[in-house]
Symmetry: C2
Subunit: 253 residues, 2 copies
């Protein structure tokens, strides 16, 4: 079966309180698609954060002395740095333009996933968008709504773009899952010649995130939903936490 990712067209600009499941269903219908058993909806983090009101006006943020110190080191706005610190457990590296942190959600990322792009700024105020409070819960809520509306067994994946330690450019990464296997363990399986596969735990949710990110683009708030058919593994419940390398196995911090 082919693996088919279709961006849903005609999605309006998203505002706090909007019904993402309803918008996705309408977009799916406009595309001539339906949500069927085994289908997945991939959603850009940005629209989930907006719906959940995770916009912060920088004028309301009072930076701590630590934020001011890191702002000098990173050449960033101290109010933005304050938010990065509030959203993080540990700061791993600071360089001009980037603060690499362990996010409170567990993963390592740049600037706690906070950016300024695609935020409406009425009256010229400066606002930024934080990641959702609990992306697994956000994904599950949308999944329940989609399943209720369609009667199908579905998956929902919320994605963001992450840099990598040793490679340039960003790739899509899973930040919230519902009904999708974070990891698929193939270690027990034999290959064609009867060897047991040695170290083959596949980060299926991240591979799906990268695939969807590719067609979502970056500038395109107009393409925040990707309909996926032909995901090659059975749907199952899992959590973002499955994808996080435990600190004691981390060789590079």
């Amino acid at each position: 079966m082919p693996f088919v990712l279709t961006p849903l067209p005609g999605i309006p600009s998203i505002r706090a309180g909007d019904d993402l499941a309803g918008l996705a269903l309408a977009g799916t219908a406009r595309s001539g698609l339906r949500l069927e058993d085994g289908d997945i909806l991939v959603i850009a983090q940005k629209v989930v954060s907006k719906v959940e009101g995770r916009i912060v006006d920088l004028a309301s943020v009072h930076p701590s002395p630590e934020a001011k110190r890191l702002a000098v080191e990173s050449l960033k706005d101290p109010r933005l740095v304050e938010l990065i610190l509030r959203e993080s457990r540990v700061v791993l590296r600071v360089r001009p333009g980037v603060i690499v942190v362990e996010h409170r959600l567990g993963f390592v990322c740049a600037n706690a996933g906070i950016d300024r792009s695609n935020i409406e700024t009425p009256g010229g105020s400066e606002s930024v968008l934080l990641l959702p409070e609990d992306p697994d819960a956000s994904a599950e809520k949308i999944r329940q709504a989609l399943q209720s509306a369609t009667g199908a067994n579905l998956g929902v994946l919320i994605i963001d773009s992450h840099g990598r330690a040793w490679r340039l450019g960003t790739v899509g990464a899973a930040i919230g899952l519902a009904g999708i296997p974070a990891l698929v363990d193939l270690r027990g399986e034999m290959d064609l010649y009867g060897y047991r596969l040695e170290s083959t735990v596949v980060a299926a949710a991240d591979e799906l995130a990268s695939a969807a990110s590719l067609v979502m683009g970056q500038a395109a708030e107009g393409l925040p939903f990707i309909h996926v058919r032909g995901f090659p593994y059975p749907l199952r419940d899992s959590k973002l936490q499955e994808l996080i390398r435990p600190r004691e196995l981390d060789l590079f911090r």
Copy 2:
């Protein structure tokens, strides 16, 4: 346009000297597909290595004192460690089960990309498979053959599975490119609200590698070719090297 990845069925077990372009064309025809302008063929590293005769009989390898020392530390076969060292520029970390290196091709990976799975072992000898000598050149050669046969403008991508510093599980990663943009730079573009995107260089080739890896599976030497239609960026020449983070920008080694 949807983004469609189709594994080509019925590919026989690959041997040294086989014609990968011919096998891919036959597989494409069996699927009822054609290679058209803008289409991409993604190929598993393993079959490229086999065709190029990159199999090494461990009985022929004599480990150096350094390999013997690292073999104790990593709990690996000293002959395998010797090959890992020969294929690498620098050893970054050693732990039981894994040697993280900077490969001679430039990227950071575990065990220099050498594994034992899916290698035929006639007479009970132990063999392993090295990465292709020059995967960009391998991809370009296959691309030329496919373009000559079809008259279409095509891309070819050779992929492997890589671990990540902070996340569990492997994801598909580009190791050889022909006609595919390694990176796509969206930084000049405005988003919907007139903000310039801040740090949006997309590792498009790696996102494509992850998408294709997902449908290729791991145990499946039977699915080494993925036909891709609807890649959302224009094809252009680029090299693997574009994806490698320069050492001076590496914060984590």
